[in-house]
Amino acid sequence: MPAEPPSGRGAAVLRRWDSALIATLLLVTLAAALAVDGFATGRNAQFLLLDAVAIGLVALPVTLIVVTGEIDLSVASTLGLCSAVMGQLWVSGWPLELVVLTAVALGALLGAVNGLFVTGFGLPALAVTIGTLAAYRGLAFVVLGDRAVADFPRAWTDAVGGTALAGAVPAAMLVTAVAAAGCAVLLHATPLGRSLFAIGNNAEAARFSGIAVARTKFWLFVSCGAVSGLAGVFWTLRYASARADNGQGLELAVVAAVLLGGVSIFGGRGTLAGVCAGVLLLVTLRNALQLADVPADTLDIVTGSLLILSVLAPRALTALRRTPTTRT
């Protein structure tokens, strides 16, 4: 909160949060491997990683957007609309290559609409994307209605669910990992990344420094749309089913993963490594608990508690460390 005087510990705490998160991830994985039957198998690892693809993919651009102090809640609806359009185009006989490209381009267009409302009209992103969350999902139903398009070529659906690197890793996960690495470099080691942090902390000062704030945000929304479109393509092919309600509710999971990863909802703070660890932790925990037959309502409770802990724990740590010095 800006109420706090900014402290030099901010960055350090964040780094420590990253490490803590990664340590937790390893610990959870280890514990699950020892305690849960069927967790430590190659096939389960693949199921797990495949489950992480859609959330992970969408979390990347959402992270960038949240770092600039905005938010995009329409990602899941964009995914759904792109999936629906994909299905519609495929049944009307378009070649699949073209269908895929169109879906991604459509995603970019939908993102551009968000971006226009946010940067062009100066409306709060939370409000705008709640609106488009409803609108895009609605359009998906307009396009595909109650139908489900399922007859995608086996070669494509197999490729999406298939593996790479000698069968060790799902191919889609490999793509996601590469994208994550690219985003990490972009965010932490390029001029653009620096300006995102500046915008998130103080957009006015960024503008006074010659950073094209509106344009940057606009293109972030566009790329977020495009990536959501891509995630829609992945979703459609992975489940071999184009439906208007694909990915419903994914936005909350994505936001949860991003926040768990240590990105500040007020913008200007966060790391991509943290987000990746956040995504994997969420997915791994769900997978392990499911295998341990933990009921769904408990899963929800665990997810929620984890989120709460994710912000309270770093606070508690700093407070503990500070206590002895202030109480003199």
């Binding site: 999902r137 309502d297 989120l307």
Partner: protein
């Protein structure tokens, strides 16, 4: 001037436009029963929006209201079903207490932890929903299990006006009076407008924020009681997804999502507008596949219109009276 509230006028204009349009297409939209239904439908959302407004004004947000509503609704219904002799005021108090406890939990975590409300309440959204599911364990409480007088509350009218609508109006007026005319109410605006300045001015921000969440929780609890009375069928999913509607109502009603400005009457109008959109679409028999898309588009239109009016008025003020800001 701060006297006139252009933001509320914007929502009111949108509302009147919608009602006029719908009534033109189907005059029965304005029949007594229809207006009663509209007010009834809006009552629960309005109560939630009033609580949400108080929280949003302080630069926080309460995403857990849907889950709190569910918990309170189920709790109240369960109490009445298992102890049919319970006096109704006591049952209502029980529901409100459940909500108040949830609100107190949120407020305590947020103010003592000094952590973002969005993350905490996203967490409690999951946790409380999970708790409701564990409690209900798949049970459903039906109209036949509930005492007749309780169910009658949901449909009773006073002088032809639904009781629930009167209750909601009373809540809105009370909150509006507090926010507008009492020092502690004004302090909520101060906290949201500039937390650092509030700290310097010696505003007890932590206490005020806890109060805001307590109020939001209690009102969500009250909304839960109203929900049970109105629908008569309650299971653990009551109010699921309601949080986005509430936030949308508040934002459409002109409350700044980053705190400091807006009014509870505006939020109430926003709730009425959203409900009205739903009802008009049903009355106009808009293609169901189009409905959600139209709702989204109308939300965007409403916040866009609001922004347009605000900037127009500001620009006009600047042009016609360049010295207005310094005029004595």
């Amino acid at each position: 001037m701060t006297r006139a509230h252009p933001r509320e006028l914007g929502v009111l204009a949108a509302l009147l436009l919608l009602i006029a349009g719908t009534a033109a297409a189907n005059p029965r939209f304005l029949s007594a029963q229809s207006v009663r239904d509209l007010l009834l439908s809006a009552a629960i959302l309005t109560v939630l929006a009033a609580g949400q407004t108080v929280v949003v004004l302080t630069r926080n947000i309460d995403l857990s209201v849907g889950s709190v509503l569910g918990l309170a609704a189920f709790g109240t219904a369960d109490l009445l079903a298992t102890h049919p002799g319970t006096p109704l005021p006591l049952a209502a108090l029980a529901g409100i207490t459940i909500g108040a406890l949830c609100g107190a939990l949120n407020g305590a975590l947020i103010s003592y932890g000094g952590v973002p409300a969005l993350v905490i309440t996203l967490g409690t959204l999951y946790v409380l929903r999970g708790a409701a599911h564990s409690w209900a364990a798949g049970r459903q409480i039906n109209a036949a299990d509930l005492p007749r007088p309780f169910l009658d509350l949901g449909t009773a009218t006073v002088l032809g006006i639904p009781l629930l609508a009167l209750l909601a109006t009373a809540v809105v007026l009370a909150v509006a009076l507090w926010l507008h005319s009492y020092r502690s109410g004004r302090e909520l605006y101060a906290i949201g407008s500039e937390p650092a300045a509030a700290a310097r001015a010696g505003v007890p921000a932590g206490r005020r924020i806890r109060t805001a969440f307590l109020l939001s929780g209690s009102l969500a609890g009250l909304a839960g009681v109203l929900y049970a009375a109105r629908y008569g069928t309650v299971d653990a999913t009551a109010g699921q997804g309601m949080e986005l509607q509430v936030v949308a109502a508040v934002v459409v009603g002109g409350v700044a999502i980053f705190g400091g400005s807006g009014s509870v009457t505006g939020a109430a109008l926003g709730a009425l507008l959203l409900t009205c959109i739903g009802s008009s679409l049903a009355v106009l028999r808009v293609d169901p596949f189009w409905q959600q898309a139209v709702v989204g588009a109308l939300i965007l239109a409403a916040i866009g219109l609001d922004r347009l009016l605000t900037t127009r008025l500001a620009a006009r003020a600047a042009r016609t009276a360049p010295e207005v800001s310094r005029a004595g």
